[in-house]
Subunit: 524 residues, 2 copies
């Protein structure tokens, strides 16, 4: 079995070497000293193992450390330095809903907080066990044993899946039946279907089917007050959509155990092109034109010059728009030709030409490998003493030029001030007719031991600037606890009152994820 | 100003003549006697006009009669016979949110129920004023004075519109700026933006952008406890989506006053074809293949043989699939060619050939005229003593063949039993990769004076059969009060508890739309 890193990303054996990373960042930051991780330090267990849960629970150091936090930059720094103070008192791994419901009952009775845990890849503090004021201990509820494809309807192209299934196991089970979900967040290898739904994960498709939301046909939520299961309809106009109350609830209202998901045959036709632009503003206009054209590319990723450079795509200061179409039904030349023509009308060039046919292009393959390697790279950077993080948003096309200028300006200045320099880059992960979802990466040199303070300052700068410039606090990373201060200003106050009212119905004792997304009680 | 019918559809002057209708239905039902409508009878007013509202309210017979009910078949029968017993005590027409909030305050204080009223086209009892147990009188809140385009962002293709704007006025104001919403429900001429959002109306696009839901960027809801306004983002992944709590709330949680809507340039390219199939099962398979192909036609309407016949499209027993693509950006030949090839691979033929170019096809124009005329035709049928109604659903492709067989079988038998014969027809209004939205029309001869009983029996048969066969109680007509018995079984019980909890936050006195969608109090 794969041994997973306690503090870093994914499998220990898949770690990116510091030498490789060193070579990559040296042009920006010069040589670095390599630091080794500290052994984990765990707090004592606060509550004894309830006998009813003993058959499917563990209070071992390893289990507790592995469920202490997510994979945000500050989580990894803490883990790297051996700080596992946030470890839960026990880790429960139910094999069925009976064991899950029993766990919720017991948590209510014994006053334990419950943190649903899928792949543990939250970058917003969403899987870190915390105690509410009335809790005596914390329980991490790991859904890894609920990993099966239960049913496939190959007429309607929908599949019933257990929520604890990881990305690769999900694709493998569907693939054996000739289908695919095609939801590939960067966390794909170490995140689960239930986690995607709970956090409104952003996936593979750059347009239309951007969030997991659009792929959910129906969903099953186990709450402390019973099961809320929505009906299996392709669509309905019957009142407020119950799916949309579950999607994005971030483990605060119940535990997602199953969903009927919209699947599709694997694509057999592909067409793609990389368009280069000297001028970023023109590149944005071209991307907007394509987003508003109705062509609906599956890939429409604009990299600014810095992002293109740091990814080794171009080094000449060009911005690059990566366009891709895919289909299991028809060749896509007409689609690609029109998208390329649109890009050309804004001054784009296509130096490597178009690719088209049944095979994945090399560019797509290498992008994907590099994309999934991203989180491993972050670990190596931590070893090298670098602060490396990302943040993301969505805003209207009208708001974007100013948001981009403000964010890059403020972050460049902030990195200069607190790190003595650094890099800020931007790409679009998804685009809509009314606006893009810009994704920013920043890198700076940390101060050994002072990384958390430096990171907090930069993170707050980033979030403040997004809010000021008209961007949402998150397009797909979700709210968790990290984004709470900004989310609390972004969401309508009356809506928070509604969420609290709903929580009183479904989780009246407040066992689930205290402090994530909203507070169960209104502020005084 | 247009004089609107008190009981029938739309403008009095646009009524469809009984002679024309007679000719159309005579082949099925023989000659009919023509009945005249009775003058309206109104109940006495129960509460005096509150002086604070007098400046923008009316208690005239005409205003009260015009707000007594919607346009469902039983509403029209009651109105036709002069029964306006459900008339509100007063009709309030605020010109701004201040007047609207004042109205809600006063309704709470004076214990009046409040029924938000847009175009009044509800076919599910959604705009009929009713009293909750604690109400002394009923107030109809007509939003017709909130009809402006407030702002247009022609970069992001979004427009801020007041919710009381009617379809044609909305398109006229957007059209003057070069844009269109392209939301054309059959009620288009006599329904409003706010009504569409409150009821999750189904619109023009047969795929992807099927419901108004997808066109809402943000929304503003005035509740008895203040304003809930969502933020203007093209997308967000920040928790549960607040837009989706407002969309489909059917006037029970607050009054929608404004929305930022996704608009688009008018289409300049069109391509279409009508595919004929001898076998309905094959036609369904072809439609499914197209719905799952990713081609996303804007029109993909399958008519069964009976529906094709009654619409004068074919008389040879063929089922007809009407395909259409539209774009403001590019020619659509590749799209249409592939869709036609798919249809042909299931045995479809294209006797009239494909149309392509910049102009609307004659078929599209004549369909639209006939589509908008539909509700007028229903009035003429009422004069002729016919029962004519429609119901609609959505189900998976797997469930459809059996649902179709059950619905048509049960309804044919029911019509035979209670009307001595009749017609039941089906078309798809919208299609999804996982299933179609079938729309059924039934016609039978009524018994003078006994129409409501006969209709109720047939309506219950239809709804029971949909529920049994795995269809939702409504794809886009909404729940209102008529669909409540079936919706109450369809929606998760815990979700109803959530809706009640939300209502306690936003409308704690329960002034808004008592009994629509859900009951403010749980059943004992």
């Amino acid at each position: 079995m794969t041994k997973r890193s306690l503090w870093g990303w994914g499998a220990v054996e898949a770690a990116v070497s510091v030498e490789e990373t060193q070579a990559r960042v040296e042009p920006f930051f010069g040589p670095s000293e390599v630091e080794c991780e500290a052994p984990p330090r765990l707090p004592p267990v606060r509550v004894p193992m309830p006998p009813e849960l003993a058959g499917f629970s563990s209070a071992s150091d390893e289990a507790r450390a592995a469920h202490a936090m997510g994979k945000a930059y500050p989580d990894r720094i803490r883990g790297f330095r051996g700080d596992f103070a946030s470890a839960p008192d026990l880790v429960v791994t139910p094999s069925n809903e009976r064991e899950l419901s029993l766990t919720l009952e017991l948590a209510e009775r014994e006053r334990l907080s419950v943190t649903p845990f899928g792949g543990g890849s939250s970058v917003v503090g969403g899987v870190e066990p915390k105690l509410g004021a009335h809790h005596r201990g914390a329980l991490s509820l790991d859904l890894c044993r609920l990993g099966r494809l239960l049913e496939l309807d190959d007429v309607s192209h929908v599949a019933r899946l257990e929520a604890g299934v990881f990305g690769p196991a999900l694709e493998q089970q569907l693939g054996a039946r000739g289908f695919t979900l095609r939801h590939f967040p960067q966390s794909f290898e170490y995140s689960t279907l239930g986690g995607w739904i709970a956090t409104r994960a952003g996936g593979h498709f750059a347009t239309v089917l951007t969030h997991i939301d659009e792929l959910v046909e129906s969903v099953r939520l186990v709450t402390p007050r019973g099961v809320l299961e929505t009906r299996q309809f392709p669509a309905s106009g019957a009142g407020v959509d119950p799916n949309r109350l579950v999607i994005g609830s971030e483990g605060t209202l119940g535990v997602i155990t199953e969903a009927w998901m919209r699947v599709r045959p694997r694509p057999t036709f592909r067409a793609g092109a990389s368009m280069h632009f000297e001028d970023f503003g023109k590149a944005v206009d071209a991307t907007r034109a394509i987003a508003q054209s109705g062509l609906s590319p599956s890939n429409c990723r604009l990299l600014d010059a810095q992002e293109a450079m740091i990814n080794g795509v171009t080094f000449d200061g060009a911005s690059v728009l990566v366009l891709g179409f895919e289909s299991a039904d028809h060749p896509l030349d007409a689609w690609l030709d029109r998208a390329v023509a649109l890009a050309e009308s804004f001054g784009g060039t296509c130096p490597k030409g178009k690719t088209s046919g049944s095979r994945k292009g090399d560019a797509a393959e290498s992008w994907r490998a590099s994309f999934l390697k991203g989180p491993y790279l972050q670990d190596a950077m931590i070893r090298l003493g670098l602060i490396a993080d990302t943040f993301e948003t969505a805003c209207t096309w009208k708001a974007f030029p100013s948001l981009y200028a403000q964010v890059t300006g403020v972050m460049r200045e902030g990195l200069q001030r607190v790190c003595g320099g650094g890099v800020i880059t931007c790409r679009f992960t998804h685009v809509y007719p009314d606006g893009p979802a810009p994704y920013f990466t920043f890198l700076g040199r940390g101060t050994r031991g002072g990384e958390l303070e430096v990171w907090s300052e930069l993170k707050a700068l980033a979030c403040d600037t997004l809010a000021k410039a008209g961007g949402t606090i998150t397009h797909h990373h979700s709210v968790g606890r990290t984004h709470r201060p900004w989310f609390d200003r972004e969401r309508p106050e009356l809506f928070a009152a509604c969420l609290r009212a709903v929580k009183r119905e479904l989780d009246p004792s407040g066992v689930l994820n205290p402090g994530v997304l909203f507070d169960a009680s209104a502020p005084p």
